[in-house]
Amino acid sequence: MALRALRRVAVSLAPRCPGRGGPFPSARSAWPQAAPARSLGTSALLFSARKFTDKHEWISVENGIGTVGISNFAQEALGDVVYCSLPEIGTKLNKQDEFGALESVKAASELYSPLTGEVTEINTALADNPGLVNKSCYEDGWLIKMTVDNPSELNELMNEDAYEKYIKSIED
């Protein structure tokens, strides 16, 4: 619980701290001071480069919020997306939980949560323009944003290089 409260503090603080590496103002938190924050697990919760799951979802974390989408490999394999079924804001997801589906000319394909967290935002542009998932799977075609409840789960995901290798191995 306390951890969650701290994260909310961190999220609201972050925009005001231009260099994210600075320690939290001591007046506001009971978290032990250690600088630089980069070296702690908390740095992962503040920011992470894009990571991939073996189900071809990606997540990138900024200010403690993860943005989730599907990879280029996935969108190519799916074909033209005609409908995106996304969860309600506030939905709690465990890692690997099904959180929605994409319907394409190929099939209805389930979406699996890369991490444990709560949905904070969904990409409403996809309602009228589901093709964004194909056209811009890493930018405008993002699916949901969610909190990152267990930052260590990020370590279980593949970075870009590892994912590229993974795709090559399954293509053979």
């Binding site: 189900k55 005609v82 409908y83 079924s85 589906a101 319907e103 394409s104 190929k106 099939a107 209805a108 394909s109 389930e110 699996y112 309602a127 009228d128």
Partner: protein, 373 residues
């Protein structure tokens, strides 16, 4: 030759399928053919869910054959108000089901065969499955002109649709299912697959209407049994397995643990209607009251199958404005459902002045609004 096995002669299906070739009288090393004894759409869809969730199909495939009593089946992301005539369906006791795969709306009855091809995700190949069906049909009747299109439809004589396809990709398992019109009621099909509802604005996936035909019309000697047998034979040949079909009872929890819960979920209002993508209804009605024509404008927002907001515009002073806003207020949050609206309307009627003219106007308005549902 077809050997229809009763499941009593086999080990429990889920064990037998996980242990290669264990316990089955026919060797099912790389394939299994099952056929449902039930004609209940929800039970049969639950079998698909069960196989999808419980089986590992790395080295074996499954063909599931099933037929249903009259039912309209909509795709995962479709809008039933947009796709079919719910009024006729209620009158004729035709069920409505929402499947978990994508695609468009279809009509099933006992003259239609459903085929589900289960494979691992890697081996998912719709065209191969359809070619198998075409080969089976051509083996039966070489003169038939049947081919698969790029849209994964099967066409008879180049322009009549006899089969439509949909599919689902899960964690490790994929399934491709398709219909096959043998001897279905085409007249009923056309009437139920036509929506009478106007003014719907929705981003739900739409269906593509098509001219359809039954195989029976091409050759009256064909029955569903003959066709199913031919498809099973071709599947067996392709997978190098014995041509034997295992009959399954989708209600049997000992064979399919947990299946009854899946069946129940598929029957809930929340799944069938509640999963409809958000939509709006904006339309004008003409009501006839005492030889005068009155225009009613309706604007309804529907989310999860419930009325999120509604606005009813009536000619000024035709009804006391308070009554109209009471109706709007009470409709908000209720299901888009005629019986729920009727109950609501009669409840409201009881608390309003006992005036014959008022009551008859009220009933007319409510009946008009109910035609939207």
């Amino acid at each position: 030759m077809v050997i229809l096995l009763s499941l009593k002669n086999c080990f429990q299906l889920h064990y037998g399928l996980k242990i290669p070739a264990a316990g089955f009288r026919c060797s099912a090393n790389s394939g299994l053919i099952i056929q449902s004894v039930s004609s209940d759409i929800y039970q049969n869809l639950a079998v698909e869910d069960w196989v999808h969730d419980n089986m590992t199909l790395e080295d074996r495939h499954v063909l599931f054959m099933w037929r249903n009593s009259p039912t309209v089946v909509i795709g995962r992301h479709q809008n039933p108000w947009q796709e079919c005539n719910l009024k006729i369906m209620r009158e004729k006791n035709i069920k409505l089901a929402r499947r978990r795969s994508g695609g468009g709306t279809v009509y099933h009855d006992l003259g239609n065969i459903n085929l589900t091809f289960f494979t691992s995700k890697k081996k998912y190949e719709r065209m191969e499955n359809l070619k198998l069906v075409v080969r089976a049909l051509k083996a039966l009747r070489p003169q038939f002109d049947v081919r698969a299109t790029e849209r994964y439809d099967l066409l008879l004589n180049g322009n009549f649709k006899i089969s439509g396809t949909a599919a689902k990709l899960g964690r490790t398992v994929a399934y491709h299912h398709c219909t096959l019109l043998c001897n279905a009621d085409r007249f009923l099909l056309s009437s139920v697959l036509k929506s009478p509802y106007k003014g719907i604005k929705s981003n739900a996936t739409p269906s593509m209407p098509a001219l359809v035909k039954n195989l029976f019309e091409e050759d009256p000697s064909l029955t569903c049994e003959i066709v199913m047998d031919a498809i099973a034979a071709e599947y067996a040949r392709c997978h190098k397995i014995d041509h034997c079909i295992t009959l399954i009872n989708p209600g049997d929890e000992t064979v399919f643990p947990g299946i009854n819960m899946k069946t129940k979920e598929l029957q809930t209002w929340d799944w069938i209607y509640g999963k409809t993508p958000k939509f709006s209804i904006r339309t004008c009605f003409n009501m006839v009251y005492k030889q005068s024509l009155l225009e009613v404008k309706v604007d309804i927002q529907v989310k999860h199958g419930r009325i999120e907001a509604c606005n009813i515009d009536l000619p000024e002073q035709w009804l006391p404005p308070a009554m109209c806003s009471e109706l709007e207020k009470n409709l908000t949050g209720s299901k888009l459902c005629p019986s729920e609206t009727a109950a609501l309307a009669s409840t409201l009627l009881r608390v309003c002045p006992q005036n014959y003219e008022l009551h008859s106007k009220w009933s007319l308005l409510c009946e008009t609004v109910m035609t939207l549902m």
